[in-house]
Amino acid sequence: MSGKSGAYEANMKRLQEIVDTLSKGGLQLDEMMRLYEEGTALSAKCRKALDEYEARLVVIDKQNGGNADG
């Protein structure tokens, strides 16, 4: 899986991990802040990814892919 979809899933997964880690508690203050910061950055990225579409309907033709005969 390439590009955007893979990145989104990975970011959501990492964000979930961070939330889980924070929820367990017992972290040093700076470690906690580092994770919080990473988490907010990830959630901002995910938010952005959700809204990065333009409702396009692109029609392409087959000529580029039609050469390799299966």
């Binding site: 906690m32 802040m33 392409i60 033709d61 087959k62």
Partner: protein, 404 residues
């Protein structure tokens, strides 16, 4: 028959019936078509029509023949019927008299289907281990189907309903008739080469086994198998299975269902991100509160003689972090640098380094830091550590008890 002859209706129908009855082909033939308007009479005779895209013929199957049916006929069933065609003179109705029925599935196409399926299966083409996961949020959805069918409309409508701004890359292909298989395969490769889509729906709406045949061709199966992008097959109705379905990463029962499977609902996905973000802030705040409670406990114990300044700085630092949390991530970074720096400095001031900085000294012997006068012995060596250096000394005399 001469033009000035006047015939009765009976004579006409019998004449035509006779013509038809003398035709060798019509006396025994196999007829392929779809069952429609099926009725079972109380007598046990079956009445229905068989039709294809352009024509329809009424059929009768008498009860003695109907008893041989392996399964009940129903509307929409595609069958091959053995029988004869004749005119029913009473009604002037041309009819097909069915003697036996085989599912079209048992016919030639079905045999070819089974052969190809077995052969491709043996090559590992349908191996579950090769199936790729359908992405949770595709960058764009690729679609291969006919430009004129209902499928493309259904797919676009459902994607738009679930995720209004989703981008779609559509590569139209001929989905039935001569060359359709190669065309569909080429379209799949074109989407792959285009690179924008990271999930592809390949399919078409319902039709007869022949109509769907392109999706039973090896070229399509190979293109799906070799496609780097996950492919969802969506051919015909729920009951239609094709080779493409087996080669695909996921089979959807219909084109509409495929659209549901490849795109999340925007609202639900947004809510998921929002929920994680809220939990993140919630847990960060709890962690800060725990830190504050620790500091409070520290102060209550009065562990240090004059930690007032450092304590205050620590509480201020926590306050600053909490404020930053309330504001959210936007200006978190700058605040964090300041607040954390201050917190670190404050906590350090409470630790040995800070204490030394204020002019106190640490005494060590070869067994480590000395916390009590009992750790020292007259005549033995010790090391005095201060913030800017250390000195080796010999203990001259010892007085126990506070002060000094």
């Amino acid at each position: 028959m001469r033009a000035d002859y006047v015939l009765s209706v009976t004579q006409l129908n019998e004449y035509v019936a006779n013509l038809i009855g003398n035709d060798a082909l019509l006396a025994g033939l196999s007829l392929r078509g779809e069952v429609s308007g099926f009725k079972r009479h109380t007598s046990g005779h079956l009445y229905f029509s068989m039709k294809d895209e352009n024509a329809l013929v009424r059929c009768v199957m008498f009860s003695r023949n109907a008893m041989t049916l392996k399964r009940e006929l129903r509307d929409g069933m595609r069958i091959v019927a053995r029988g004869s065609a004749a005119l029913y003179t009473r009604d002037g109705q041309f009819q097909f008299y069915v003697k036996s029925v085989e599912d079209e599935g048992e016919g030639e196409l079905f045999r070819r289907f089974m052969l190809l399926k077995a052969r491709l299966e043996a090559t590992g083409m349908f191996d579950p281990a090769h199936k790729r996961e359908i992405p949770r949020l595709p960058g764009a959805v690729g679609v291969v189907t006919s430009a004129t069918g209902a499928a493309i409309q259904d797919i676009v409508n459902i994607i738009r309903r679930r995720y209004p701004a989703m981008d779609i890359v559509f590569c139209p292909a001929q989905v039935q008739g001569e060359g359709a298989g190669k065309d569909v395969a080429a379209a799949i490769r074109a989407l792959e080469a285009d690179g924008r889509a990271d999930v592809v729906i390949v399919g078409r709406g319902g039709g007869s086994l022949e109509d769907l045949w392109a999706f039973n061709e090896e070229a399509v199966a190979r293109a799906i198998y070799q496609c780097d992008i996950p492919v969802i097959s969506a051919v015909g109705h729920e009951t239609d299975f094709t080779i493409a379905d087996f080669a695909a990463d996921l089979r959807a029962p219909t084109p509409s269902a495929a659209a549901e499977l490849c795109v999340p609902e925007y609202e639900a996905e947004s809510a998921d991100v929002e929920a994680l973000n809220e939990k993140l802030t919630l847990h960060a705040r709890r962690a800060l509160e725990a830190q504050r409670a620790r500091l409070e406990a520290f102060r209550a114990h009065g562990a240090f003689a004059s930690p007032g300044y450092a304590m205050k700085t620590s509480f201020d630092a926590l306050d600053a972090l909490e404020k930053a949390l309330k504001r959210g991530a936007a200006d978190m970074l700058a605040d964090r640098e300041r607040a954390l720096g201050a917190a670190q400095a404050a906590l350090t001031a409470l630790g040995p380094q800070g204490t030394l900085g204020r002019g106190f000294a640490l005494i060590r012997t070869e067994t480590g830091a000395v916390g009590s006068i009992a750790g020292l012995k007259v005549g033995k060596g010790a090391k005095i550590v201060m913030h800017d250096g250390s000195a080796n000394v010999i203990v001259d005399s010892i007085q126990t008890g506070g002060g000094g």
